[in-house]
Subunit: 520 residues, 2 copies
């Protein structure tokens, strides 16, 4: 990387320009479904919605690192497809969690019951998202004004379950391109600004079509109905009830129905799985749409999970429901093992010396390792004891984040709050956390606009790369996993004020954004 | 027309089917901008929106009459293009209004001032909408259960100014087609219903692209900038401030920007015209975007009016503003004369014996006349005196509607309320009204869903046909009007409960709908 600095304060909008921009943005969001439902406003006949948080300007990002993230994705896909079929290794790195983490217990329980019954579907689908931040090499962190060209790409996490944000990200990219095309930025720049936003610097995102295409391919691979009584087939979206973030899931359904050869797609609430589906003797998954019980059932080709990632969902009914899906011949997106592969504990295990080489050829392993930041277990191994020392020390903990060993974001504890938090938790449960070095991104200047208001400030961004994979479990060779499809679907880019730790747009902490790709 | 009856109660949805339908509809609306802004909810950083009223099922409509309305549109276009250049005739039929109607006074005043200055743009653009209802030949009206095949097509009104509803209509047609394709109707029908909704019975609407295409053609015809200082050109949308029905205008702008050869489109509030535009010496209309005053101005090729149709808008500033637009070289959509051509008084004058033949060849005149319902002036002519007798008689007035002589819907007085209303108005003002026979549509059964709730009931519908026209004023021949483009853009279809008189979706009285075309 060169160290050529770029001026992050590339705009200074006038008041009139801001008025125009904010009006344009709100109207564009209403017209393109870049919205969230207002919680508790839904009635039978109506519902209120409001614009999801977005950045007013696209935030600079180095083009070389954007391209690197895109190119890395196929290697990451390969890694996580292979991991998802290496049940022995997965079990060895996550078995300690079974005693302390109900979700780990539930998922392994479901997997083992399914295995006992015999696995009847060898194909799995994966819609993944790998998240990165820029990391300043000098480690001076968020307070530093280091250039984005003095950074490398570091992985925050890898998601293989219910990857959200694809729909919004797709649309926000369209919006920033629209604003650029209409001159909403440009007109002010001769007078006020220092740089011009070039339309060629704003990449398109193709998440909606990319994700739908993956599900459609899985649907086609499943083949014709195997159940005589089923006259039709469909992809089944398993969703959380009363989801206010509807505009992130629905576009994928619409894209499936809109294809030249339409792929039927239905939604089913997590809590209604046992009521509205059944297994045939040969374990085809049948969906009985509640709105017409007497009709012939729908045979499900693909189960796309957008629910079932929180421990509390696995009461007895939730457990039986996921078991019913997993035991079926439907292609699961994702399978239980693929779900387990995204535990933080697995991410941490992959950083151990030599582990990546178990799954990837050396060059690929090196490329992946280049995106790793230090990750420690908090168990009683040597590495774990070292991490415990760091985590319980008010000074040592500064540069770290404590994360639950499971999937997904949230529930993190940051820096100096870690020692107090750990002292409030029984030491026997410490092993259900990992300790991750904080990624130290350079800050940029931007204006963020969301439910909480509109304000200019220092911001940091997170780039997510979406991918679409299909693979086959093999038991007849040394290679346990045959990859059928491995492609990049699109990307998401989220930006938040630098002083806020958590990056969740739907909780109001972050905004959808578009990377403005800068040449170094 | 044959008299084969059809069963209007073609569905009987189960409760589960309705739950599914209502959830699908709300989510589709959020994702596709079929929304209205919640009044007074807009803040700098956010705004609430809610679904615009829609019908849950598409309402039956005879295919032959739908096609007839489409085919009639080119003749209506011709009629209204020619009328808009026949200033003598227009003046003769509307001059009585000048004394009693401020809007008529303002528009004629602006026209005469423009004429005095010299008319510098011979081309006009028109985005028209002709509205129809089905009319039962036996005249037994809304209480009758007559079949839709015992009807003819009757015109409610012809609009040439700020024709609304095109965007929503376009999208609701897409929505009903989506619901049909996904089986949301079909699945219930084997058990509960009597007929199947066939996707081929639901026409597509193409309003957004059709209207944008008309403005783009006008933009191209205007040619290159005539002002040296103007480096760019654009279509200017004149809009009402704080319009909550944003999703009906914005899609046209987006379509203009999205064209292969993008057509710049900007919005300007009615009240800001004099501040943000200027006329050059040779009367080019220059727009000075307020967000960057120092930039070179934008020369306006086409002025598209979505404001300026209410008398109160023509205070001194409003008058001067419209005059500035009208005097300019920009192509007006519509011109002042075209605006005046849609006064109800003109519609009434066209029904007089022999008048249509002034503008159209006899067959075309006959086709148009077939859609006329009786319309009387309320002046002191013989026809007017007859109408006064009807209107002041509680019995005689039953089958009539009293309408202001001006443009647009609203402010109507219905049936038995007419005598009392007239007695509250000074007799000298009676001539500013026309008396129209009530169209008596057959009722259908449907479920309507909107801000007020969701309920099944008897409904009636109104079909609007959108068109896109361009014409040139000729002073060099007997033909005063040379038509350059005459095309049908699309349609809108609005449905309301039969017992409600007014049809305004944005006021919450009606719903956007799709005609389900039925063969007779």
């Amino acid at each position: 990387m060169t160290s050529k600095p770029i001026d992050t304060r590339y705009f200074e909008p006038s008041e009139d320009q801001m008025i125009n921009l904010l009006a344009q943005i709100k109207d564009w969001q209403i017209n393109h479904g870049l919205l969230l439902k207002l919680i508790q406003s839904e009635e039978e006949h109506s519902v209120l919605s409001y614009p999801v948080g977005v950045s007013v300007f696209p935030t600079p990002f180095p083009r070389t690192l954007f391209n690197r993230a895109i190119n890395l994705q196929k290697i990451y896909n390969e890694l996580y497809c292979v991991i998802a079929e290496d049940e022995d290794w997965l079990y060895s790195v996550t078995e300690d969690l079974i005693a302390v983490e109900p979700l780990a217990r539930a998922l392994w329980g479901i997997y083992h019951e399914t295995q006992k019954a015999g696995i009847v579907q060898e194909i799995s689908a994966g819609i993944f998202r790998s998240d990165y931040m820029l990391h300043l090499n000098d480690g001076n962190g968020a307070e530093s004004s280091g250039s984005i060209f003095e950074t490398t790409l570091k992985q925050v996490e890898f998601n293989a379950f219910s990857c959200a944000g694809g729909g919004h990200a797709n649309r926000v990219a369209d919006m920033h391109r629209y604003l650029t095309r209409t001159g909403a930025y440009e007109l002010g720049q001769e007078q006020y600004g220092k740089e011009r936003i070039d339309i060629g610097s704003l990449p398109k995102s193709n998440n909606i079509e990319g994700i739908a295409s993956c599900l459609a391919t899985a649907h086609a691979i499943y083949g014709p109905p195997r159940t005589q009584s089923a006259q039709r087939m469909a992809v089944l979206f398993i969703v959380q009830p009363n989801n206010f973030n509807i505009a992130d899931e629905r576009p994928i359904e619409y894209a499936l129905w809109d294809r030249d050869e339409p792929v039927p797609a239905y939604r089913l609430n997590w809590g209604d799985i046992l009521r509205d589906t059944s297994l045939t003797e040969s374990r085809q998954l049948l969906f009985h749409p509640p709105w017409i019980k007497s009709q012939s059932p729908v045979e499900i080709s693909v189960v796309y999970m957008r629910a079932g990632y929180e421990a509390h969902e696995y009461d007895n009914i939730g457990y039986q429901a996921r078991l019913q899906l997993e035991k079926s011949t439907a292609i699961k997106c994702p399978s239980i093992l693929s779900h387990i592969s995204t535990f933080k504990k697995v991410q941490q295990a992959l950083t151990a010396h030599g582990t990546l080489e178990r799954f990837l050829f050396p060059e690929k392993a090196a490329a992946v390792r280049g995106t790793f930041i230090s990750l420690y277990p908090l168990d009683e191994t040597a590495a774990g004891l070292h991490a415990r020392q760091l985590a319980t020390d008010p000074k040592g903990s500064t540069g770290f984040i404590l994360k639950p060993s499971l999937e997904g974001g949230g529930h993190n504890v940051y820096g100096t709050e870690i020692p107090d938090f750990l002292s409030s938790v029984s030491q026997s449960e410490w092993s259900s956390y990992v300790l991750m070095e904080r990624i130290m991104p350079p800050t940029q200047q931007n204006v963020l606009m969301g439910p909480a208001g509109v304000a200019e400030g220092k911001v940091v961004s997170e780039l997510g790369i979406f991918s679409a994979c299909l693979w086959r479990r093999r038991t007849d060779s040394n290679r346990r996993c045959e990859i059928i499809e491995n492609s990049t679907a699109g990307w998401s880019f989220k930006t938040k004020y630098a002083e806020i730790d958590e990056m969740s747009v739907v909780k109001g902490y972050g905004c959808f954004d578009t990377p403005r790709l800068i040449e170094d």
